[in-house]
């Protein structure tokens, strides 16, 4: 069967790619578009390493088919820094040493950004619940949570 021809927007840029029905959005981002910042951890929606936004909604790209991305606006980790300028969340992750191996980090950053867009002044509990779908096997989460709260404060101008 012929491949699907998909046009979409990724980080504000129009993109097109070909995919099979069974290819996930994660497969398409990494293998068709060369956007390898989005990671595959579990491939079953449990770990959050593949987090992206679709029309502003935080989702696991391993649980969406590439064909479902047709006409959608996708946000990935590659859209977070503006050229050389890191997003405040990215800077605070470095400041707080909120990463070790780094595989979960793009997912955490994309998820945290989606949280701060909805809730600029989240409580620690809110951050922990929002990020409960992002697993990190290195840091123990404390540094990540502190980095998110610190970035939120900076972004509010506090």
């Amino acid at each position: 069967m012929a491949k699907h021809h998909i046009t979409a927007t990724v980080n504000g840029d129009p993109v097109e790619f070909l995919c099979e029905t069974e290819d996930t959005l994660l497969d398409c981002l990494r293998d068709q578009l060369g956007l390898t910042g989005t990671k595959e951890g579990c491939a079953t929606g449990d770990c959050g390493a593949c987090s992206v936004t679709v029309d502003g909604r935080l989702v696991c790209s391993c649980l969406i088919l590439g064909v479902e991305a047709k006409g959608r606006s996708i946000g990935t980790i590659e859209g977070m820094a503006q050229g050389e300028d890191l997003h405040p969340l990215q800077r605070k992750f470095l400041d707080h040493a909120a990463l070790q191996c780094g595989v979960c980090t793009p997912g955490f950053l994309v998820a945290a950004k989606a949280l701060l867009e909805r809730s600029p002044n989240p409580s620690e509990t809110e951050v922990r619940y929002w990020l409960a779908g992002n697993l990190c096997r290195c840091t123990g989460y404390d540094k990540i949570v502190r980095a998110v709260l610190d970035a939120a404060a900076e972004m509010r101008g506090a």
Binding site: T21, G45, L63, E68, Y129, G133
Partner: protein, 287 residues
């Protein structure tokens, strides 16, 4: 594997009915894609129903609500009125998975996945919700949610039929609902037991109507009439709650698995029924 994204129910039903091989409805895909990836199923056709307007809408109807079967947990949570009128249904749907899963997962999928432990299903049953099912030639039947699932992975749907939406009834005065589930950790697990309770009080605080539903304690979610009887006519006091506890336990036919033993599930069902009834009671007193 073919992929179709029809924009009308008629087209979707026709596609599903005409496929000689295995055809699956794709809503949020949070269960379906995992089952495909682990080779549990190998459908020949996926019918993505998210482009069909009815499936994506929450609207007020007949004094209650019609909720599209593909509406996501995140959208339910953001609907302030629905949340205030049927808090138990929304809190049950919001217990499913992480923030990321909430961005995709739907109550239609939760029901049609056919798991006895689906969180939103006992809450819908307790609320008296009906599933609006559409088949060939536009035939529509509204079926109590408790009658949709028959056994694990088995539904009472004919080939081609789709659960299009859920109808939540108009809520009488001094009525409210609640859903609780037990899992061994705080977040993101599959219910060991789930319990939905909806009850109505009269002006003096006597329970005049109730519905109690249990999940994960039988091959399908149960509507437990004896548990409701334990509450009706009472002030939902300790004596009534003890009767409720006993009736809930008596209805259980659970399995032993890694999440809990039969004995444990039966005990927890009674405890959750009492606690959910107390939450529903507090809510009903307020409105």
């Amino acid at each position: 594997m073919r992929y179709e994204a029809p924009t009308s129910l008629d087209q979707a039903v026709a596609l599903l009915a005409a496929e000689p091989g295995e055809a699956r409805v794709l809503a949020g895909g949070t269960d379906l894609l995992v089952q495909m990836k682990t080779d549990l199923i190998e459908p020949a056709l996926l019918v993505d129903i998210k482009g069909i307007p009815e499936l994506q809408d929450i609207r007020e109807e007949r004094g209650g609500f019609r909720i599209g079967a593909a509406v996501t947990g995140a959208e339910l949570k953001e609907h302030a009125k629905l949340k205030s009128v049927w808090p138990g249904v929304v809190e049950a749907a919001n217990l499913i998975g992480s923030t990321q899963i909430q961005g995709r997962a739907s109550m239609g999928g939760n029901l049609c996945n056919g798991s006895p432990a689906a969180d939103s299903v006992p809450a819908l049953i307790a609320a008296g919700a009906k599933a609006s099912i559409v088949g060939l030639k536009g035939r529509r039947r509204d079926v109590p949610v408790e009658d949709v699932m028959l056994a694990p992975r088995k539904l009472s749907l004919a080939k081609g039929e789709i659960v299009a939406s859920f109808l939540l009834p108009a809520k009488p005065a001094r009525t409210s609902d609640a859903y609780l589930r037990f899992i061994p950790r705080t977040e993101m697990d599959i219910a060991v037991v789930g319990c939905g309770v909806c009850l109505t009080l009269d002006a003096k605080g006597t329970c005049t109507a109730a519905r109690v539903s249990l999940g994960a304690v039988a091959p399908r979610p149960l509507l437990v009439a004896d548990a409701a009887k334990a509450l009706i006519g009472s002030k939902v006091d300790d004596a009534a709650l003890q009767k409720l506890d006993a009736a809930a336990r008596a209805a259980c036919q659970p399995i032993d698995d890694k999440r809990g033993t039969k004995e444990y599930r039966i005990k927890v069902a009674g405890v959750l029924a009492r606690r959910a009834a107390q939450i529903a009671l507090e809510r009903a007193r307020k409105g």
